[in-house]
């Protein structure tokens, strides 16, 4: 049996469900999608480079210029089917190499410290028409609201949807009602408190525990795997969710990058592949965006790792993606500017096009203040 999410009664006609995966720690794009035709790649990364396709341990051929890291093999069929596009040498041009500042800037959708304190997705949601009154419109599957979602009306942050609520004994005691009353005037806590109690009721009727992966999809039993399995349950539950955010941790590979990025990419590919299989034709109405705060230096350091850089790789998956292509205006690896992969495709162009074509339209001036375009890179279908 396959859940036909495309015919999901709670998905508004004008927008996809958006799933955002943030790779925390600055993921290296140059080993995820190796520019193997660029000879500088091998001179700059003598120890850690991904060998060309056909060689021992070589990458998976995608084009005459690019090869996927072998651990990303599960993504190749999705790419070939036209449901995955890769954006190389991308990022938000913020000139900041601190993880914490860069994450803050990119999640706020700005390049300077000035500007709105809210998140790009939060502002998009705030300016869009609510498709429902559900507490589940916007959710982060984590313990805390990520900056990207701030500005939306009470985004949920729940780390385990299968264990969110009170036991019957507590419900019978009248405790939730007295809590509701108690928090009613306690600004700013009344918002999250009320949302928690409403979300609890909605989850009880949805009964996620009965919703299992389908079509043989196997989510790895890892942090990201468990979160995306919950995302799947949530989408299939027919709760009117519009945006789901999850984090993928552990991308800061300053040393022994080959070992660690192999683990990280394996997890990412297995999770995306499982989700794609699980959603099946439902992917027609789901868009997945994978992005990070910045990339790594072109040259490896003395510890078989890479230090902080600029441009990286973004992944776009879904039926509405103009897939089977690598979107890149390749800057070369010999730019001499701070020894970094330069950003030639502004990630805000990708995000704007995604919101325009797949999320029901947006106000780019609100979502990305000061951004001068372009507002499309032909990454999505209309």
């Amino acid at each position: 049996m396959t859940t036909n999410i495309a015919a999901h009664p709670t998905i508004p006609a004008d927008r996809d469900i958006l799933v955002c995966i943030f790779q925390r720690g600055a993921a290296d794009g140059l080993n995820a999608l190796a520019p193997y035709s660029d000879s500088d790649y091998y001179s700059e990364r003598p120890v850690i480079a991904v060998p060309p396709p056909g060689m021992a341990g070589g990458g998976i051929y995608v084009t005459d210029d690019y090869a996927l890291h072998p651990s990303l093999a599960p993504l190749k069929p999705i790419y070939d089917a036209g449901n995955l596009a890769l954006v190389h040498a991308t990022g938000v041009p913020h000139q900041n190499r601190s993880h914490f500042s860069a994450q803050n800037l990119i999640e706020r959708g700005v390049v300077e410290k000035t500007g709105p304190n809210t998140g790009w997705l939060g502002r998009h949601i705030a300016q869009s028409t609510a498709a429902s009154n559900s507490a589940f419109r916007v959710i982060s599957i984590s313990g805390n609201v990520p900056v990207a979602l701030t500005g939306a009306d009470e985004p949920l942050a729940i780390d385990n949807l299968n264990d969110f609520g009170f036991d019957q004994g507590i419900l019978d005691s009248g405790y939730p009602q007295v809590l509701t009353d108690f928090f009613r005037n306690a600004v700013p806590f009344s918002g999250p408190a009320a949302a928690a109690l409403i979300a609890m009721e909605e989850l009880q009727s949805a009964d996620l525990s009965t919703i299992l992966p389908e079509n043989g999809a196997l989510y790895p039993d890892t942090a990201l795997g468990r979160k995306m399995r919950q995302a799947s349950q949530l989408i299939k539950s027919q709760l009117p969710v519009e945006v789901i955010c999850v984090d993928s941790d552990g991308w800061d590979h300053h040393e022994n990058l080959p070992t660690y990025i192999d683990q990280s990419l394996t997890e990412l590919a297995d999770v995306l592949s499982a989700f794609n299989t699980d959603m099946d034709i439902g992917m027609a109405r789901i868009t997945v965006l994978v992005y990070t705060e910045f990339g790594r230096r072109i040259g490896e350091n003395g510890s078989a790792g890479t230090d902080h850089g600029t441009g990286s790789l973004a992944y776009l998956m879904g039926g509405g993606v103009n897939g089977g292509q690598i979107i890149s205006d390749w800057p070369g690896l010999d730019t001499g500017i701070n020894e970094d992969l330069q950003i030639t495709t502004d990630l805000r162009s990708v995000m704007t096009e995604m919101l325009d074509k797949r999320l029901g339209g947006t106000d780019v001036g609100t979502v990305f203040p000061g951004f001068g375009g372009p507002t499309t890179v032909n990454a999505f279908l209309t």
Binding site: F100, N104, G143, L156, G169
Partner: protein, 535 residues
């Protein structure tokens, strides 16, 4: 109801197996990394080290607590009945002076008890390596429990608050490669040694801490190809702050200065594992320039020492540390004048932490900012115990329940993966999931509705002191547990609730166990309420 309790206990018990623990503790990162004894540090969304903290929300309209309560709530892990009496008797400033002089506060048998209960927390790297990696579970649980016990039971509360503050400031993820063998001695000799001492001393100790050298990869930093990880975080997180005026070139130059700062690795024949060592052969002995200061060629280990001095004395460091202290003790967005005064005290005292704290506590902002801070989970958990069970002894499970509680609440000590430490802002902690988890913990542990999970003795009878009407029960428990007044409208809500629950009138004397049951239920509500979460 019995089923529920059984299920919960079953779940807790089942989690106690080592495999489950490692799954939980490894958060799915894959513990194969241990085999390679190399760290991989992640990064997570938070931003209280960044100036772009969301603007403060207006405070909830709560009736004012006493100044003594507010002061105590901020310099401790929750008011304890006896400490509230003490601060009232001594006056706030004398009480704070007493707390600052922590070595002269008798802590009874606490340290001896911790040494007996959690001996691994006192072991040297070479001892811990002998049991590694099989001892990871034990090292982690003992480190966490020792921290929780001190937060709950120590009389040196301000000292423990500062230990937590510096543990976040110089954050090291415990379960990270060789971390379990190295962090215990860092906790003893860097954090606890200097928590109320001098910042420059602590910075130097941290620079040579092998746990830090390992965690931030400096142990691999060598002249032929420097590793910038420590250099960047040293300036961004430990000293200057991200806007402190350094450049990308400064990071590269500082990295060169610290080449050769490493540790004796397992199997080193020359010395004990885990000791700091400077290896001149891999040090970059060329000339460097850091923050416009020339570092002459040939300095060897002195290069790094000079950088630590330079950074400790830098005005940006004074301001950065002052900002973080004000954020801890005053509000998420402290005012510039107070930060300036605290920074000036830091500079004038040469980084003396007690003098710097005195400037925080002497500020008008400290007095005027009651209820602007949202408690973090560690404080919440400890304050539950301190308020509800001031006379309790250690739990029979050696703190295992508290371990799971704090894991659920999201602030397990030494478990924040990235070097910025746990956030200290309300916008991070006051989420839907965060609130629900607090409510569940309060209710499960203290309501008496689910027997078996109340792992500590709560003496409701003595709190009631004979109160036998709903009205009297509410007043007695509010006084004992909250130690601050309720708004009339909030008091009305709970009185009405208890009247409905038991179908009795509020002023009608009750016999039997009803007052005790009401006390337990009420305590759970009060510690779930906004009154208990703010300081």
């Amino acid at each position: 109801m019995v089923n529920t309790a059984d299920q919960l206990l079953q779940k807790l018990n089942s989690l106690q197996s080592r495999r489950e623990f490692l799954q939980l503790f490894g958060k799915g990162l894959g513990y194969s990394a241990l085999a390679t004894v190399l760290p991989a540090c992640g990064s997570s969304s938070s931003s209280d080290n960044d100036p772009d903290v969301p603007p403060p929300a207006p405070p909830p309209p709560l009736p004012a607590a006493s100044p003594e309560y507010t002061a105590l709530k901020r310099i401790s892990f929750g008011p304890h009945r006896d400490e509230l009496t003490a601060i009232r008797n001594l006056g706030i400033s004398s009480y704070i002076e007493q707390q600052l002089d922590h070595l002269n506060i008798s802590d009874g048998t606490l340290e001896a008890d911790i040494q007996a209960l959690f001996p691994l927390t006192f072991q040297a790297p070479v001892q811990l390596l002998a049991g590694f990696p099989d001892n990871i579970f034990d090292v982690a649980t003992q480190m966490i429990a020792a921290t929780q016990y001190r937060q709950m039971f120590s009389k040196r509360q301000l000292y423990e608050v500062m230990v937590e503050f510096w543990s976040d400031h110089f954050n090291i993820h415990l379960v990270n490669g060789l971390g379990p063998t190295l962090k215990p001695i860092d906790d003893q000799q860097v954090i606890r040694q200097h928590a109320l001492g001098n910042f420059k001393d602590m910075l130097h100790a941290s620079g040579k801490s092998t746990a830090m050298l390992f965690y931030l990869d400096n142990f691999l930093n060598q002249a032929v190809a420097p590793n910038e990880n420590y250099a960047r975080e040293l300036m961004e997180l430990h000293t200057l702050g991200v806007d402190g005026g350094y450049t990308e070139d400064d990071i590269k130059e500082v990295a060169r200065c610290f080449t050769g700062w490493t540790l004796r690795l397992p199997g080193d024949p020359d010395a004990d594992y885990g000791e700091f060592v400077f290896v001149d052969a891999i040090h970059d002995n060329g000339a460097k320039t850091v923050l416009s200061n020339p570092i002459a060629a040939g300095g060897g280990q002195a290069d790094g020492e000079a950088i630590l001095d330079l950074l400790a004395d830098h005005p940006s460091t004074a301001r950065f540390i002052a900002t973080k202290l004000c954020r801890r003790f005053i509000s998420d967005n402290p005012d510039a004048a107070t930060i300036d005064a605290v920074a000036a005290a830091f500079t004038a005292s040469g980084g003396d932490i007690k003098d710097t704290l005195r400037a925080v506590f002497a500020s008008s902002a400290f007095v005027d900012s009651a209820d602007l801070k949202f408690t973090r989970p560690s404080e919440y958990l400890a304050s539950l115990v301190r308020a509800l069970a001031p006379d309790t002894s250690y739990p029979a499970d050696n703190g295992l329940f508290w371990f799971y509680a704090q894991n659920t609440l999201g602030q397990l000590p030494f478990y924040w993966p990235t070097p910025d430490g746990y956030p200290d802002v309300q916008s991070y902690w006051a989420s839907t999931g965060g609130l629900l988890n607090r409510w569940r913990l309060s209710f499960l542990s203290f309501s008496g509705v689910i027997p078996g999970l109340d792992i500590i003795d709560i003496d409701y009878a003595s709190m009631l002191n004979g109160a036998n009407t709903i009205n009297a029960v509410v007043d007695a428990i509010t006084d004992a547990v909250l130690m601050r007044p309720l708004a009339n409208e909030d008091r009305d809500i709970i009185v009405a609730w208890l009247e409905t629950e038991w179908m009795v009138a509020a002023d009608e004397p009750q016999a039997g166990t009803l007052p005790l049951q009401a006390a337990a239920l009420l305590a759970a509500v009060l510690v779930s309420s906004i009154y208990f979460h703010l300081r």
